[in-house]
């Protein structure tokens, strides 16, 4: 049930905080985030480094719910508020500000038994992965941002 709640909560947060004017610019980040999500889901079916459970959804449907809600929403909000013109330290703190809640949420799901880590996977590896994912998201966003800047300059 908590995954369904998370789905609706994600889209409610999206509705409240997203800058709809900037949606065409932010949307590729959401798409990339969901793509990375579905990619890892396809890998995890074989490797089983983690899996989910949470009635009424079956284990295979839960990743899809996440890919259609929290992943794209978080990616778009993260990119929207990214401090592009601030010093590197400020950017690092900003990324940490997004990584910590993600890890905290994962920890809650682990504690509640709605998510399990297997084999050598741990919360620390999730922490490192999140840094990489957030770096990829901002790197990919620069492609879009520069394109839109060039068009506005014309």
């Amino acid at each position: 049930m908590s995954y369904i709640l998370l789905f609706f909560l994600s889209w409610a947060v999206f509705y409240l905080f997203i800058d709809f004017e900037r949606m065409p610019e932010l949307y590729p980040s959401g798409l990339l985030s969901s793509t990375l999500g579905i990619w890892t889901d396809l890998i995890m079916i074989r490797f089983k480094l983690w899996d989910y459970n949470g009635a009424p959804l079956d284990a295979l449907s839960i990743p899809l719910v996440l890919d259609f809600s929290i992943y794209p929403v978080v990616a778009m909000l993260y990119v929207q508020y990214f401090p592009h013109r601030k010093p590197i330290l400020r950017k690092t703190v900003y990324i940490l500000f997004w990584v910590l809640p993600a890890i905290f949420l994962e920890w809650i799901y682990l504690m509640r038994g709605e998510m399990q880590h297997h084999k050598w996977w741990s919360l620390w590896l999730s922490f490192i992965s999140d840094w990489i994912i957030y770096a990829i998201l901002i790197g990919a966003y620069m492609i879009v941002r520069n394109h839109l800047k060039q068009n506005q300059a014309r």
């Binding site: 949307y27 798409l31 969901s34 396809l42």
Partner: protein, 152 residues
């Protein structure tokens, strides 16, 4: 062989035909094709078991049990070219979409005949055609959405 051929087709057609100066504009189209293909594979292969892949020899295929290279190189390159050459008039657009969806369906049927894809009972080439039509329509919808700001 079929998978490698498609991968090579994707890479070569992108290198030779794609207008690389429009990469920043068409990049979400590439991304959309990867997303649509992977999501489709997840739903149809892993959850609904509508089709399964056999004889996959390309790297990563053993890990994900889908033709990863085709979904990463062939379809995104085709999506890029599809938007790049998208016609201006409505009848031409309809003909264009039908031609591409038919080509994708024929390609899939070649894979079925070659034993690479095993489709379950109830699945029909026409459903594949509709699936590809949906993919191409959504590709253009997302492109227009992304390009909206530039047109204003």
């Amino acid at each position: 062989m079929h998978i490698w051929l498609l991968t090579a087709t994707g890479v070569l057609s992108f290198l030779l035909l794609a207008d690389k100066s429009r990469f920043r504009e068409l990049y979400p189209g590439l991304l959309f094709m990867v997303y649509f293909r992977f999501t489709g594979q997840y739903i149809f292969v892993e959850i609904l078991h509508v089709w399964t892949y056999k004889k996959l020899s390309t790297p990563f295929s053993q890990i994900m049990n889908i033709p990863v290279f085709v979904d990463l190189f062939f379809y995104p390159a085709m999506g890029y070219l599809y938007i790049q050459y998208y016609p201006k008039t409505r009848p031409a657009r309809l003909f264009y979409a039908i031609t591409w969806a038919t080509a994708f369906t024929i390609n899939e049927q070649i894979a079925v005949r070659g034993g690479i894809i095993e489709q379950q009972a109830g699945w029909h080439p026409f459903l594949s055609f509709l699936f590809f039509m949906l993919m191409l329509i959504l590709l253009i919808v997302q492109h227009r959405f992304y390009s909206r700001r530039r047109q204003t």
